[in-house]
Amino acid sequence: MSRDTWQEQLRRGSLDLAILLTVSAGPKYGLSIIQHLEAFTDLVVTEGTIYPILGRLTRDGLLAAEWVEGEAPHARKYYRLTRQGVKRLADMSDEWRGFTRKIERLMAAVEKERT
């Protein structure tokens, strides 16, 4: 597997978690989610491909979506976490922390063996 492929898989695998985390702070519309992701990560490669993921997370019941009029000259679609989404986010966060902890431990052990 090339480095690029590995990085791409890592990016894909963490995007759902990153989106759920972003929305967990409060309701956000598409562009504000993208801007938040862009501010803290480099997970967004093509902005337009984030919207289908938001749609899937909504269909899966993890997010709820609602069009809001009057806030801007045009309507904005806001997303918020559902109860199911809160639970899934907690599970995913635990798994992510556990996973990175194990990899860190492995890297430290290998480093120690080398020295």
């Binding site: 995007l15 519309y29 598409g30 337009g48 491909t49 919207y51 289908p52 899937r56 904005r76 679609k77």
Partner: protein, 200 residues
């Protein structure tokens, strides 16, 4: 930034192509909602831009968003795969397989194999259905009266009397259903594999 008529026209053109690209892949109301959301994104981006070069700024915004085809493909992949894997129904599975076939080489060859499986299943079932209608034309065909069986199927006009009798119906039905069930399971496994590899 307030757009000129040319700028508005550019946005309308982008959204039109997006809508056309989504039309075959998504239900109408879902496609309309998607286009509305993308338009909202573009309007937000335009409103936040203070660049003097309207054309350059607009092209940069649309480039960041992705081409209409790229965005439509992302929607289509998410939607068709989800529907196929969650429901397991024939039409969504076929639609998702078709989508995979036209967007990747692996998908093309997998779809070709699945097509052979589905067609074989339908052909066996057709034999079972046609046997009582054309009893002298459908059955097992042999190389001579006591020769080895050479084919199973229908021949018009019949070169002789087929063997196998009405057992052919049972055999055709069993083989056809087995082929369809196994091919469908294979299709769902293939789509699950695509789902894991799919780019967001």
């Amino acid at each position: 930034m307030i757009l000129s008529e040319a700028g508005e026209s550019r946005i309308r053109g982008y959204l039109y192509v997006l809508q056309q690209s989504l039309a075959g892949a998504l239900p109408r109301e879902v496609a309309q909602d998607a286009v509305r959301e993308i338009e909202s994104h573009v309007r937000d981006r335009v409103a936040a831009t203070s660049a003097a070069d309207e054309r350059g700024a607009l092209e940069a915004i649309l480039a960041e968003l992705g081409t209409p085809l790229r965005v439509a493909q992302a929607y289509s992949a998410e939607r068709t795969l989800d529907e196929a894997l969650v429901t397991g129904r024939v039409v969504p599975v076929l639609r998702a397989t078709w989508h995979a076939a036209v967007t990747s080489i692996a998908g093309f060859f997998a779809a070709l194999g699945l097509l052979v499986g589905y067609v074989a299943g339908l052909a066996f079932i057709a034999i079972a259905v046609l046997k009582p209608i054309f009893p002298h034309n459908v059955g097992v065909w042999r190389d001579g009266p006591f020769g080895m069986p050479t084919s199973l199927g229908a021949k018009f006009p019949a070169p002789g009397e087929p063997s196998g009798g009405y057992w052919v119906m049972l055999v055709g039905l069993a083989l056809g259903l087995a082929a369809l069930v196994f091919t469908h399971r294979g299709a769902k496994r293939f789509l699950a594999w695509v789902r894991q590899r799919k780019a967001p």
